[in-house]
Every structure is written in structure tokens, then in C-alpha cells.
């Protein structure tokens, strides 16, 4: 099957639509059904593949294989409750499904038509089973744009992606739009980089596009490394074609013919799905020479990251792509001017890319209608920590943290009190009760001392000690620092050691003062974003939870002695 024009693409789309329309509730009286089984890394780890196999075996035994298909999809986001099995078009959402439950799903639900009560999700507030996914609070306030196909299509089948408008945007861009036209749409949409920095994507494309160089590159940054974050992995596992299509669109816009996905080697499933998708795209002519019958050629290769957090920084990533030591360079020059092997290079994050085709299809105005003044569209967050509904959520910009944590996230388990939430991963800061009603956008979060980051969101309850939290993050950045600059190499280490000194009860007030100074110095002086933001958890917890630091410092300070001597005198040390 070769697709050489929009007409041919539409032909494939029409055929494939048959397969997926059941899942879109277009025909409720259908006797045909789809069983969607989550094939994301989380659910696979709790045997979702066995669930799928059992379902297939039982369906075959019952003679239902013709009208009921088992589809292995990408992540549904509700990882806390996995493995997830969903029955379409009934829109019934089963949670924590084990291989042994397959029989009941087939016999009770699919044959007798009665839902398997024990596998239904129970609303933690109302303590009632939820019979239709629409009634699940976890999904009600979500708006899935980047994750639109995750948990809906089979990521290993390109035709399912095509059925849901896949590759339409690329086809239209190549056939009907100029590169500047494409850039203009992205600029007007207001899309900003989802990897953390929030740089306007359209502007980045424009700058790269303007460089006069016949050789340019587009790179997808899939080196997701924030603790607890797995947005990019889910997109690549659940909807790899959206990223490939977006890269091709970006390449056309900036004038590149080669793309690289820099993906961490610890994501074997994402790598496998992406590799498969790339092959399918090549086989159908959607990658390669003369795409859509035009003169545009583009292909993508994979480069595996070896597990260095700092390689998520674009200059470090490019160094790593070139086979050099993964450490950042001083900017400027920015990659848009001098990137991969010195050629203009555009680096975008997975989630940013996932938004591109849908913006192209539905228009810049549609996208810009979501969100706040300077932050448009949606953002995916990975909810983790002390929260009921751990998982992946996508919300419109401007939603409040309170809505995410209490409505979508279902609040704090065991009736404990909310204390703080950390956004922006190790680069961000804590947000306390008083700021929970801040609308989430890039600038709003910066104002309250944290940042959007790539979307990690870790909730802490009253049992968590904030100095320990700061220590946890600092240990992470200290380990992940590349070592290139002094403040990053030694400064983070000393900060961590000082925090250990505090939590072991050996610190004095003078130490608290010193740590503050050091934190600001590292922020001021480190070479790249990783270590410039590394002290943020310390600065932010000091700001909001100063008393917790004080609790660790010895009660009876020796005013006649300088801090460092007092600290060596270990008498009376305890909080």
C-alpha cells in the first residue's frame, strides 16, 4: 500500500474508519464490539497482555471472534487502577482486571449483557460503582488533545491512525501550504514548548527556518527524565504516528530532510512501537522520498539515550546525538543557529509534536481558544505521590491545581491533609494550599516560584517533611549533573551535603544562611538550565516551610561561637 496523494490517503481512511468507528460511539446498537485492553508499560507490567490473550482465547471458544475484537491500545492514563479494559461502544471502564477476569468479562458482559460489578471503578467520594466512563470524575475535567489517540487506537496499526485524520495534516501542508504558512499556523496557535521551557514553538520553527543552510535537522526530544513523569512515553507508546507526522510537518516548515528521535533506552516498548510505526510510514510512502507525490523527502532515525537526565537539555542532547559526551554547551549559539554537527537544528519535545497535527487539522484558532492569555491548549501531567488517582491526565491550561488534585486526582488518600504539590520536577518548586487556586499556565506558575516543567506533579501530604523533599530532589539533580560547570558539579553536591547536615540535626542557623547563599549562587552561576534550576526545591521549600528547617536546627544556639564551630560541638543537637 503506497499513499501518494490526499485522495489515496482518504481512501485508506474510509476503509479503516470501519474498524474504529465502534469506539467512537457512532452506532450504539451495533452488535459488534471492541474490547480495548491497555497495552501501556504500566498495565503490561501487571499482566494486561495475558488479559488480552485470555480474552481472545475465550472469545474464540465462544465463537465470538468475528464480531468482537480485542484491541491492544496505548495508555488510558488511569495507571493507578490498571490493567484497564474498556468495552466499546458500551463505554464501560473496567479496572484492575486480572487474567482470570477475562472469563467473566466475556460471559457476563459480552454474552449476557450485564456489567461485571466487581471490576467497575468505584468513586472514592461517593463510594459507588461507575457504570459509564463519562461519569468518572478522573476523566470529566480532562481534555485530551495530545493524548487524543492514546487508549483509543491500536498504535501498531497505521490505518487506525489514518482513520482518525492521521497524516491529513501532513498531506494538506505539503499539497496546499508553504513552509511559512505552516509556521504561521503554529505561531498563531500559541503553542509553547511542552518540555519545560515554554518557548513558542512557531517562533522556534521560524528562527530555524530562516537560517540559510541547505542542511537542517529536526529532533524530537524523547529523553524524558523527570522523576515520576511519563507523558512522552505514553504518547510514543500509544500514538507514535502523531509524533512522526508532526516531525515531518516541522521538517517541511523549517527545511529539514532528516529527523532524529532521541529516546531513552529505558523505554523499550516506546522504541519498539516507534520503530514499527516508522517502518509502516516508510512502507506506505509517508516517510522517504517524494512524500505525497511532492518533492519533499524526509526520514527519521532513532538515537538511544544512555540514561542521563541532562541529555534532555537540547545542547547536551545534540552533543549526545553526535556521539560526544552528553553535556550542555553555552548558548548562544542556539541549536536553531548551530545545532547537530553545526547545522541549524530544531529540537521539540514529544508532547509538543503530538499537538501539531491536530492544530493543523482543526486550526490555530481552535487551539488558541483553549487555555489562558499566553498559554494555549492543554498540558499533560503525571499525577503521583499522595493522591488517590495516580496517572496521566491532560487538562486545559488555566485549570486550577485544586481541580486537578481534588476533582481529577480524587484528593489525598486516607483522609490526610494536603500539604504541597511539586510541579516542574526537580527544577520546580512547591505550591502550598494558599496558591492552589492559581490557574495553571507557564507564567502563573513562575510567579508563585515554580514552573510548568515537563509535567511531573507530585503531591505531598501532612506526613511529608519538606526538608526531606528538597533533599530528595537535590540528590537527583546532584547525581544527574553532568559535572561540566563548578556550581553544578560541586555546588549541588555541597547543597545536598548541607541538607543532610540539617536533617541529621547537626546544622546551625549559620548553616541555614550559608545554604541559602549557595542556593542562589548556583541558580545564578550554573551553566545550563538543569543546575540553574536545581536549587529551586530548596529555595521554594525554604520560602514556604522555613519552620521545618528551623525545627531541625538545634534549639540552643551558641551566640558567642560562629556557626561552623558550633556545628562541630555536637552537644544539644536535636530538633
Amino acid at each position: 500500500m503506497l499513499i501518494k496523494s490526499l485522495e489515496e490517503l482518504n481512501k485508506v481512511k474510509q476503509q479503516a474508519l470501519e474498524k474504529v468507528k465502534i469506539r467512537q460511539h457512532r452506532d450504539a446498537v451495533q452488535t459488534n464490539k471492541n474490547i480495548l485492553v491497555c497495552g501501556g508499560t504500566g498495565c503490561l507490567a501487571s499482566d494486561s497482555d495475558k488479559v488480552a490473550k485470555n480474552l481472545e482465547v475465550i472469545l474464540k471458544a465462544r465463537g465470538l471472534s468475528d464480531r468482537i475484537q480485542v484491541i491492544r491500545t496505548g495508555c488510558f492514563g488511569f495507571c493507578e487502577q490498571g490493567p484497564i479494559v474498556k468495552i466499546e461502544p458500551d463505554n464501560v471502564f473496567y479496572v484492575r482486571v486480572g487474567p482470570k477476569d477475562a472469563k467473566d468479562i466475556v460471559d457476563m458482559h459480552l454474552i449476557k449483557g450485564s456489567q461485571v460489578e466487581r471490576l467497575l471503578y468505584e468513586d472514592p467520594q461517593k463510594k459507588e460503582k461507575v457504570h459509564n466512563q463519562e461519569d468518572m470524575t478522573f476523566y470529566r475535567k480532562q481534555l485530551r488533545v495530545a493524548l487524543r489517540n492514546c487508549g483509543l487506537i491500536n498504535p501498531e496499526d497505521i490505518t487506525e491512525y489514518i482513520a482518525l485524520d492521521g497524516y491529513q495534516a501532513l498531506g494538506k501542508a505539503l499539497a496546499q501550504m508553504s513552509p511559512t504558512g505552516v509556521i504561521d499556523v503554529i505561531k498563531r496557535s500559541g503553542l509553547r514548548g511542552r518540555g519545560g521551557g515554554g518557548f513558542p514553538t512557531g517562533l522556534k520553527w521560524e528562527i530555524t527556518g530562516k537560517q540559510e543552510n541547505s542542511q537542517k535537522y529536526i529532533i524530537c526530544n524523547a529523553d524524558e527524565g523527570d522523576p515520576g513523569a511519563f507523558m512522552d512515553r505514553s504518547i510514543l507508546e500509544g500514538d507514535p504516528h502523531s509524533v512522526i507526522e508532526a516531525m515531518a510537518i516541522g521538517a517541511y516548515a523549517i527545511g529539514a530532510h532528516m529527523g532524529i528521535v532521541y529516546i531513552r533506552a529505558e523505554y523499550p516498548l516506546a522504541i519498539a512501537r516507534l520503530t514499527n510505526a516508522l517502518q509502516q510510514a516508510r512502507d506506505t510512502g509517508l516517510l522517504g522520498k517524494g512524500i505525497f507525490g511532492t518533492g519533499f523527502s524526509f526520514d527519521v532515525k532513532l538515537k538511544y539515550g544512555a540514561g542521563a537526565f541532562v541529555c534532555g537539555e537540547e545542547t547536551a542532547l545534540i552533543n549526545s546525538c553526535e556521539g560526544k559526551r552528553g553535556e550542555p554547551n553555552y548558548k548562544p549559539p542556539y541549536p536553531a543557529e548551530e545545532g547537530y554537527w553545526g547545522f541549524p537544528t530544531c529540537v521539540n519535545n514529544v508532547e509538543t509534536f503530538a499537538n501539531i497535527p491536530v492544530i493543523m487539522n482543526r486550526g490555530a484558532d481552535w487551539f488558541a481558544s483553549m487555555g489562558t492569555g499566553k498559554s494555549k491548549g492543554t498540558k499533560v501531567f503525571a499525577l503521583a505521590g499522595k493522591i488517590n488517582n495516580v496517572g496521566l491526565v491532560e487538562v486545559p491550561m488555566g485549570i486550577t491545581l485544586r481541580e486537578i488534585i481534588f476533582d481529577i486526582g480524587g484528593g489525598i488518600p486516607h483522609g490526610r491533609k494536603f500539604k504541597a504539590v511539586q510541579t516542574g520536577g526537580p527544577s520546580g518548586g512547591v505550591i502550598t494550599e494558599e496558591n492552589l487556586d492559581t490557574p495553571i499556565d507557564y507564567d502563573g506558575l513562575l510567579k508563585i516560584g515554580t514552573m510548568m516543567g515537563s509535567g511531573g506533579m507530585i503531591v505531598m501530604d501532612e506526613d511529608d517533611n519538606m526538608v526531606n523533599i528538597a533533599k530528595f530532589y537535590l540528590e537527583f539533580t546532584m547525581d544527574e549533573a553532568c559535572g561540566r560547570c563548578g556550581p553544578g558539579r560541586i555546588g549541588t553536591k555541597r547543597l545536598y551535603e548541607m541538607l543532610c547536615k540539617i536533617t541529621s540535626g547537626e546544622a546551625t542557623m549559620a548553616d541555614l544562611d550559608a545554604i541559602k547563599q549557595l542556593a542562589y549562587m548556583v541558580k545564578d552561576s550554573a551553566l545550563c538550565g538543569l543546575c540553574q534550576t536545581a536549587p529551586n526545591p530548596v529555595i521554594s521549600t525554604m520560602k514556604y516551610f522555613w519552620h521545618e528547617y528551623l525545627n531541625f536546627v538545634q534549639k540552643e544556639d551558641h551566640p558567642h561561637q560562629e556557626g561552623k564551630y558550633a556545628s562541630k560541638n555536637k552537644t544539644g543537637v536535636k530538633s
Partner: protein, 623 residues
Amino acid sequence: MHIKIESGRKHTKGEKYKYKHENIGDINGEINSDLVGPDKKRINVRINDQDLTVPEGITILEAAHRAGVKIPTLCHLDLHDLQLYNKTASCRVCMVEVVDERNNRNKLVPSCVTKLQEGMAVRTDTRRAITARRMAVELLLSNHPNECFTCPKNLECELQSLAEELNVREIRWEGERMTYPKDISSDAIVKDSNKCIYCRRCETACNEVQTCGILSGIGRGFNSFVGPFANIPMVESSCTYCGQCVQVCPTAALTEVYHTDKVWEAINAPGKYVIVQTAPAIRVALGELFGMEPGTVVTGKMVTALRRMGFDAVFDTDFGADLTIMEEASELIYRLQNGKTLPILTNCCPAWVKFIEHQFPELIHVPSTCKSPHIMLGTIAKTYYAEKMGIDPDSIVMVSVMPCIAKKAEARRPELTKDERNNVDISITTRELGAMIHEAGIEFAKLPDGEFDSPLGESSGAAVMFGTAGGVIEAALRTASEWLTGEPLKEIEFEDLRGMDGVRRAVVKIGDKELKIGIASGLGNARHILEDIRDGRADYHAIEIMACPGGCIAGGGQPYHHGNDEVVKKRREAIFEEDRNKKIRKSNENKEILELYKTYLGEPFGEKAHELLHTHFEERERI
């Protein structure tokens, strides 16, 4: 047009924007044209209280330097003449504050890589910048051994002087320090990673200038330091021991293997006849270690000092150089007249020899087979001289003073230490000799001039030229030319062969023959020439290669230039001065050399000469 810059004034209230306008672009015709760009656009900026006009593209550091504002640096290195630029911006010692009044958000930036832009206002003297700079050094010191007293770089260490300059009085951050074992595996370089401040100068020198690719960052975060791949011992790496890394290391993370005590031991051992020889480049640099101006020629004082130290004979490696020329010029003529492998490559530089062995083993037959001058002199001392003077060769200890670290390793090469009889027993650097003179309590500056001992002390101006890039080939041509034409040479100085650029090509007319000459200094430049030879793109007749950019005057064993390439230039001028002042300027006119051939060696490039003065090379692996 010359405009004098007034020193910066602190502004008083109301006077804030009334400053004298300065135009730095014009007063500095010498500003690196690469930085200015072809259009030489000017921009207006302010540094502290001075309004300045500067060329576009200039860094804050450079502009500040020219405006008389000092900003401390550590990792930064800009050796234009040696083509070494370290711009890692990693030490964060040169942080300055960029004023952003509009957003009310001033920013600290590294001045070494941040380029000035139109309207930019920079302050180098704010509390924030000063504190950040001092803390950057404090942090480095918190992970640095506190052993300045016994450190080989004591009072030569750039970190140490920065600590003083930035007023560091205590180190507030106590904690873990690096504890790596010292690498003393090689005969030339000691690597003490605990003193590595990760400025990466060595890495730049090793990879970008020398293209050896030995040193690179290892480990990550707090544990990072510079070393060979997988931190294998230096001796197992393909290191050429050129010592450029040692020359640029700001601390003592990379130093030479110290042999001073071995030399004292030999001098004081009964029954030993200890001979010392000094390379051409020593006499123009040694004075720097005693507070003299770079480029001061101290040959006579050096000889006196060596004699007072107790050496039994003080010889000049220049004699060995003259001998090398006799052999090399003969070999060149032999190859020219017999249709043998051309070009001929000079091989006095042991780092260069090791480079070709590791990096271009397929070209191993190209270099001349001559031993290097100090090895030749060692051989002759233990044969001809011993015989002539009636000394037991086994009692001779040959010490060579070299501007070089690689010579230490060369002296240990198996083929040059045959039958337990070393050609050269101990090789020390200029710096080590300086330390020994200090140690002996000799007031160098007040010494009277002495003369080298005979018979291995006489030398020509050609031999002195060995100390600088282009010198060996010029020396060889002076002799080869006379031999080829049979007439005395009128133009002694081959100006086309001189200069500081890394690769030079020249055509020299000798009689009716045109000789195509190539000269490369710096192994990166050598690589280009070797690739040309390997791929058949070169038609040279003779090529001189020196591993160190600029030649031996900038060798790894010379007094530290501390990032000032003017020092190297002055040494170079001094070499030419020495050549001009010599009575004889061609090796083939050195009477002691002629006597040696007549009474002992026979013909140049003859059988005995082959046995004693020639060697062979080995194909080696590249790691």
C-alpha cells in the same frame, strides 16, 4: 586614531548617564579580526561606568580587558598564536552582571563567552557578581587537596592565585572530596585527578589542537574529571606525551614525572661521570624562572650553573643537532638521488614519532631514521667521547635538559636502552632544572658566563634553530644546499620557512632544483599533512614536524606561559638572535663534528653512523 581611556569613575547621583565616551574599536587595531567580523560593525555598550564603542561580536571579557577593567578567569584560554582556544565557560569565575533595567532582572553571565550587544550595560563590580566569583572559587577549593606547600605547582598554580585575588578567606563548604589514585604509570606525565578542576583546557589541547583524542571527561556530576578513555593508565593510552596538556593545566592535575632527585643522586654517587646536555630551547626560557624577561638568552649563566651543580661535563645538545643535520641532510640527498621514499620527515621530536606510530602506522617508513639530537649526543658520549677520554662508558650518566616531557619517555624506549646501556639516562625539563638551581642556592642572575665543554660543546647557529618550528628544516637545508650545489650558501636565512602559523609550505630553490618543503607545528597540523601524504595529495620533498605548536620553545617542559603567548614569541626571537650571533651557522662547518666523522664515524650516513645514529620505529595500536 589613539584615544586614551580614562580610568573608570564611580558615578555620583545625577551624574549617572554622563560619562566620557570611549571608542575601543579604534584604539585597538589589533583586535582579532575573526571576532570583529568582515563588516566591522561598531556597537555602543557600557562597562561599569565607561561608555564604549566596540566592534560587534567582541566578548565582554575582551572589551573589559581593553577598557582596563579586570575580570578574573580560570578555564578561559585564548592562545591565538598557538591556535588554542578553550571556551568551555565551565569555571564560572568570570561572571559579571548584565543590567536589564526594563525587566528589572539583572542577570549573571560568563563574560568569556558572552558577546556584547548594542546597548548592553555590564557591571563587573556588583556585590552579586563579586560574591558569585568568589564562591565559584570557594567551591572549587572545597574539592581540592589542601596541600599547596608540597604541590609541584606551588606558586605557579592559577587556582591558588585566584584564591588570593578573589579574597577567599575561608571555605564554608566542607564535604566529600575526590579521592582518585595518582596515575604514575607513564615515564613522562603524572595525572593527579584530585587536583582536576575540570576546566577542560587539557582536553582542548589534546583533542582540538593536537588531535590525539586521549583526554576527555570521565564520570559525571561530582565525580567527573579528565582522563584517558575509561580512565586506563596513561601508559596504556596512545598519549604522545607532548605535554601540551601539562603546559595549559592551571593546577597540578597534570605534571611531569619529577627526576631532580635522581640527578642529584647521580652527581653525588662515587665513581660516576655525570654529563649534562641542554637543548637549544632551554637557554631562551630558563631565565624566566629567575625573574628575567622572557626571551633573555642565558646560555653562559646556564653553563656556569650546571658546572657549579657538580656535573663533570657540560655539553650542548646543539652538537647533537649538528650531528642530526649531517645525517638527515645526507639521508635527504640519498633519498633524492636514489628515488627512495619522499618526502622525508624530520623526527627529532619524540612526541611526533609516537604520534605517527599510533595514528599513522601505515606511514612508518616515511620519517628519517635518525635518532633525535639528545639521543645522538648520548650515544657519542658513551662511545667516541668515552674512548677518547678513557672513561668507562658504564660509569657515564647522561642527563639531558629538555624543553619537553616526551623526551623522558623517549629515553626509556627499549631500542634506545640497549644492553642496559642507555643513550640518555635521565631527562629533565627546563622547569626541573630551574628547581634544582634554586635548590642548590645558586643566584642565577649573578652568575658569570661559562662555556660548554669540548669536544661535544661546539655547535652551529643551525643547531640552535632546532628550538623553534621551521628551524630543523632550515638547518638541514643550509647543509643540504651546499652539498647539492657544491657551493657555499649565500642566503643563510630562509625567511619563507619562518613564522608562527601552524602549517607552512615553501618552495626552496637549490641550484637548479626546487625543493618543496612543508612545515607543521602542532600535531593537529601534522595530521593534515600526514593525511595528504597518505592519500597521495602531497608532493613534498621534506617536511619538518614538531608536536608542540610553535616548536620546542613552547614545549611541555618549558616554564609555564600562563596563557600568555607573547612569552613564546619572545623566546622565538631569542632563538633567531642566538643563530645570528653564532660564528658558524651551518652544521657542516662545525669543526668538532667534522673531526668526529674523520676520526670515528667515517662517512655521514655510512655504516658506523647507521649503527650508532639511526634507529627504527614501531607500529602501535590506537587507544
